[in-house]
Amino acid sequence: MAGGVAGGEPPFLRAGHAAEGRAPPPPPGLAATLRKNLLGSWGSCLITLTGLALIGLALPPLLRFLVLDAVFIAPDGAACRAPGAGACWAFIAAKLPYLVYGAYPLGERWRVDTTLVLGGVLIVWLLWLDAPWRRAATILFFVAFPLAAFVLLYGAPPLGLVRVETNLWGGIFVSLLVALVGIVVSLPLGILLALGRRSRLPVLSLACTSFIEILRGVPMITVLFMANTMLPLFVPETLAPDRLLRPLIGVALFASAYMAEVVRGGLQAIPAGQIEAAQALGLHMLTIQRRIVLPQALRHVVPGIVNTFIGLFKDTTLVAVVGIFDFLRTIESARLDPAWAGPTISATGYAFAALFYFTFCFGMSRYSLFVEGRLAFGRRS
């Protein structure tokens, strides 16, 4: 177009309107989309029919078991033992306090509630990307919260809080506690390990690498066994760590190794130019890591961190192997209560636990997808 103007001659101009083109076909309606999607070919038809048959076979019994035939209110297991009765939600309702707090003393349970609410608020604050003062939240969550939680849960007689021994702890609260300890320890420790692994000092790098690879190469159960049976041997008999503390240490170390690999991925994504520029400005190596590298690297790996946390949360169920009464273990012992014994009790208990874990894990994975999308958007613009 510009060529014509440059040549000095009048550019070619259309004398009248162009003939109207045909309108693009209207977007196919819902029915057409469905037809194309579900009945596009003979094979597709067959698949659709099989799928419908599958749903038709599986859904009604499931619905009947979980809702229609379920027993919602009952004083004991008699109503749930009736033939044809579905899930016994009354059993869950009756056992709920035990499932949440374990054997934690009745009068002290507000302490558990306070801790969980505090932790929840702080986590939401941290995960909400646009929240104000997220730095303060970080410090509160990683330093102040663990101390407060310890004082609240374990007790501090000088503050008027009765000591509650850990063998009384149990239920959902212990599961959440194990997961919280895992995340609070594993994130800082994982960062240190990742930095150590990338260090130019061969001894440090070798030590960190072997720690990470050994812990990642073995099942978590063996780490728990090790923490449970070997930690007491490392110290004199009188100093033997608490029975809940041992698996907590095991879980924290195990999670740190996985977290370290996630963080390392983020560190590798930082271009070398960033470090070189910071060095040119005369910044100290530690300052560079703290102010330049880590903030960028950690932002990249938020989805990875959340995914690791999902894995950690599912793995907390394994602490039952060393005798900790986590949520699943309380379900296991509640379902064996003779007062409620019945053919549907086990399935009810597992359905409830599955719902609980699914809600948490699915929610977290959606959050991680959301963050991923936002990071990708930030990178595009």
Partner: protein
């Protein structure tokens, strides 16, 4: 860096030897390393001495001599001869083999199911896609332990007793005592048929190598020749020496099934739980791999007239494998590591037998836990090495 060392050199000439520490990065680095090594080494030695004295004080064996002592407990499933009079070392082997058994079955089943579900998630059919997504999200977000307990305590244990067993095809039966399958029994004449089959495979392989390439015979001829090479020798051998394998069906006796192959409920629960759970992860790996293949590839395949199954077999999967293999390796390793959850359903795997019963009976915690960890670590390292090798071969195909 150079600016710094110049500066350091200038300082070095002027400053006293002590302050060189502050200015020479190389010296500082060495000192830091020595310090790290000294602290780590010191900690390890201290821990070792402490553990040894603690173990001696508590009368715990400190060597590996206990492995030769009689175990004195029974194991309800064993691939090798084992009885209560066997040694702890033998019990270790039994546990290790049981772990390998469950891992091998789990690997095959979860791979098959995982690939099917992963491909289904990309199907043009909306319903199939939805079902596959529901499967993946449902199983991935619930702890494996919960699923295992569900299969074992809520599904397999409440099954009817043998007298009212659920009868399956081929004389199989599902009862609360386990899954009974027909057992293959090798007859006397197995050797010639096996040899013939091996010979056939060798011939087929050679023929396959020969006929490869553009100038070889047509596809149909190739398939026919290779199929003939594979099938003919064993068939001839069978004709000459008789049918080599008979199946022994489980028969219902007065109280229980006799004969046949019995899979314990523990094994079935563990295999089901592990396979279904891992398949969900493998499906995600497969989907990610297939989605990473550029769209133009499947469009080009469609333009060439390949149908869906050929597009997948010859175009998409070979390319996707490059991404899939490393991720698949880590899922396989997870499966092997997760098989240690056997301890929760009482399946006698390495952890249940060795880190459980043997540890409790002998008290040799340090040795037992370290050996158990070493076994898993060795499996992990070998598997990563093998997959790295494969990975390198696949990568070579790339331009």
């Amino acid at each position: 860096m150079r600016r710094r060392s110049d500066e350091a050199a200038a300082h070095r000439r002027l400053a006293a030897p002590l302050s060189r520490l502050a200015t020479s990065p190389a010296l500082r680095r060495t000192l830091v390393q020595v310090a790290v090594a000294a602290v780590l080494g010191g900690l390890l030695v201290a821990a070792f001495l402490d553990v040894r004295s603690n173990m001696e004080a508590r009368g715990i064996p400190t060597g590996f001599g206990f492995l030769d002592d009689p175990a004195g407990f029974d194991i309800n499933q064993s691939l090798i001869a084992y009885s209560a009079t066997s040694t702890y070392g033998r019990a270790f082997l039994v546990g290790l083999l049981n772990t390998c058994l469950v891992a091998a079955i789990g690997l095959v089943l979860s791979t098959l199911l995982g690939f099917l579900v992963g491909i289904a998630r990309l199907s043009p059919n909306m319903l199939l896609r939805g079902l596959a997504s529901a499967y993946v999200e449902g199983l991935r977000n619930v702890p494996l332990l919960l699923q295992l307990l569900f299969w074992y305590n809520a599904v397999l244990r409440p099954l009817p007793p043998p007298s009212e067993a659920l009868l399956l095809p081929f004389g199989s039966a599902l009862t609360n005592r386990g899954l009974y399958l027909p057992a293959p029994i090798a007859a006397q004449s197995l050797a010639p048929v096996a040899l013939a089959a091996l010979l056939g495979m060798g011939v087929a392989f050679v023929l396959f190598r020969r006929m490869r390439g553009r100038h070889g015979p047509a596809q149909g001829v190739r398939v026919a020749v290779i199929a003939l090479a594979l099938v003919l020798p064993p068939v001839l051998a069978t004709a000459a020496f008789g049918w080599p394998v008979t199946f022994e069906r489980p028969e219902l006796g007065r109280f229980n099934y006799a004969g046949g192959l019995r899979l314990t409920p523990e094994l079935v629960a563990l295999v089901m739980g592990l396979s279904l759970y891992t398949a969900a992860f493998i499906a995600e790996v497969v989907r990610a791999g297939l989605e990473a293949v550029p769209r133009g590839q499947s469009e080009a395949a469609a333009a060439l007239g390949l149908d869906a199954s050929r597009t997948y077999r010859f175009v998409l999967i070979p390319q996707a494998m490059r991404l899939i293999v490393p991720l698949l390796t880590s899922q396989y390793l997870n499966l092997v590591k997760n098989s240690s959850l056997a301890v929760f359903v009482g399946y006698p795997d390495l952890v249940q037998v060795f880190a459980g019963t043997v540890l409790n009976q002998t008290g040799a915690a340090v040795q037992v836990v370290l050996v158990t960890m070493a076994v898993y670590l060795a499996i992990s390292l070998v598997a990563s090495a093998a997959m790295n090798l494969y990975n390198r071969r696949v990568a070579l195909v790339e331009r």
